[in-house]
Symmetry: C2
Subunit: 318 residues, 2 copies
């Protein structure tokens, strides 16, 4: 047990924030604290929230925080924005929930951006979630700003992925098909007081059916929940139903022997990512010793060396 | 120079076929033949043909073969079908071009399927293309059966990627957006004697504009060619225009200093893939020594070990 890990386990928010920053900066030593925290993880339930920009994800997250706080649960939030060059919470400071929950010690919000390093966002997200989990946050919400490939990757960290859309997106509902629908455990039609909400629900049901028939492995039923998350409505209509749908998915997917099996598969994927990250660093060093990838590639492109021998020599020297 | 490489360079088709099969089976020794062939590559021009099922890709490939044969060029074809469990040419034996070009020594057709090994289809495709290139085939056509992620990956092997669609696909034109449009160097509206051909062209132009404005790096103009490739029409209408569009893309993208730069970037990507493949094998062995990924993951999932230490120990032991 490291000193810093102990302080964090005792509930010191500022120390936790500093560790998260150090982890993001890949500071030596930070990983030792994370290793020490890991045995204390596994109790937090991780919920990912993603979906089209403008779908009202932030307001929905805000409503979920209120709902969970109402149940007496502590809530951690990781807001992921790969387009922002800043990490650390400042960029989302203007968000309503920051003001609303700022004085609530049961809520911890952390922003994450890509800092350009390899392995990137998913790794950083997992690290932050790990710290929050060890600190005893009962629900950990991961919110993404957009729906890029990086952000879909990030959703793999979640136990339940909630995909949010709104009525009247037209073509963009089609865009949901590519990638987003595949990862959805619960679908939300937010702003469902708008015209076209029922049609959006029907479209989504149709797509789910297609997915089902297309041989997609539907390990569970995907529920579709209509919500109107707005600050005026306080908790928002449909939010209790969303909470219930998430609980139902949890019970269906993460409990019993099948749940344990899934936990192991998840750990395996995470482990493989970590190994890949460690090896990437070593491959880069091995290539640098030979003048860098660009130089080796030039030799291959000019037929001065064959790519198979070059790859073998790089792999042999790491 | 290996004996087998020498025989292949002398034009022995049966030996080449055997090498391709051995490469696909990852037979020891086969890679040495490939290394020996590599310095003889770099003259063949590689054209990928992909697009919606039912778009008439095979007939179009057939027409392209005829067009290139008419120019006195030798043509190699790699038909990629990741859904088939069989490799080796048999599965596509019923295709028209096999009958039509079967006795033409200037045409070599090879089928490829995933055999389930890591690195998969792209690697196997590159290997086969390499052999065909060394043998002096002037044009090497890579045809994919579907438009899955694997097949889009395979297109990275090509110098020019031709994406084929047909009028009246409706929603499926939308599906083109996801992935396929990004890789298109030339777009073909095949069966353009059908109703809706002009509309399909307009839709594609619109999407290209969106892509352009969306910050997509358009290093060159994407031409849209209307074709009617049918066996009755022999070479098919629009096929000479397609050949010209491919030549134009070649001149624009692969000649001069920018072209050399692109060759190097391509070699770098290929090299990185090869290194990754070699390391995957070693990682798997390192994990097997610890009881396999499943066993390690179970320990991590049960919090008996933290994933960071586990990953470090695996990475350290490869």
């Amino acid at each position: 047990m490291t000193q810093r890990a102990q302080t964090i386990l005792a509930g010191d928010i500022r120390t936790a924030s500093r560790l998260m920053r150090d982890l993001d900066d890949r500071m030596p030593g930070a990983i030792d604290d994370l290793k020490a925290l890991y045995p204390h993880t596994g109790k937090g339930y991780i919920i990912g929230i993603t979906g089209n920009p403008g779908a009202g994800k932030s307001t929905l997250v805000d409503a979920l925080i209120s709902a969970y706080r109402g149940q007496g649960l502590r809530v951690g939030v990781v807001a992921v924005d790969p387009t922002s060059p800043f990490s650390g919470g400042a960029i989302l400071g203007d968000r309503i929930r920051m003001q609303r929950h700022a004085l609530d010690e049961g809520v911890f919000v952390r922003s994450l951006a890509t800092r350009g390093h390899l392995g990137g966002l998913s790794r950083s997200t997992f690290d932050v979630v790990c710290v929050l989990d060890a600190m005893g946050y009962d629900r950990i919400l991961i919110e993404t700003v957009g729906v890029g490939q990086d952000e879909i990757e990030v959703m793999r960290t979640a136990h339940t992925s909630v995909v949010v859309t709104v009525p009247g997106l037209g073509d963009d509902i089609q865009a949901l098909k590519a990638g987003l629908l595949e990862i959805a455990d619960v679908l939300v039609v937010n702003k469902s007081d708008r015209e076209g909400a029922d049609r959006a629900v029907r479209d989504l049901m149709h797509m789910l059916e297609l997915r089902h028939h297309g041989g997609g492995v539907a390990s569970h039923t995907v529920e579709i929940v209509k919500t109107v998350a707005s600050l005026a409505l306080r908790e928002g209509s449909g939010v209790p139903e969303l909470v219930t749908a998430i609980d139902r998915h949890r019970a269906e997917s993460w409990e019993g022997e099948a749940g344990r099996e899934r936990m192991r598969a998840r750990a395996a994927a995470h482990l493989a990512d970590l190994v890949k990250g460690l090896l990437s660093d070593r491959v880069e060093a091995a290539m640098a010793a030979r003048g860098g990838l660009g130089e080796i590639a030039a030799q291959v492109a000019d037929r001065r060396e064959d790519p198979y021998s070059a790859a073998e020599s790089i792999a042999a020297s790491i």
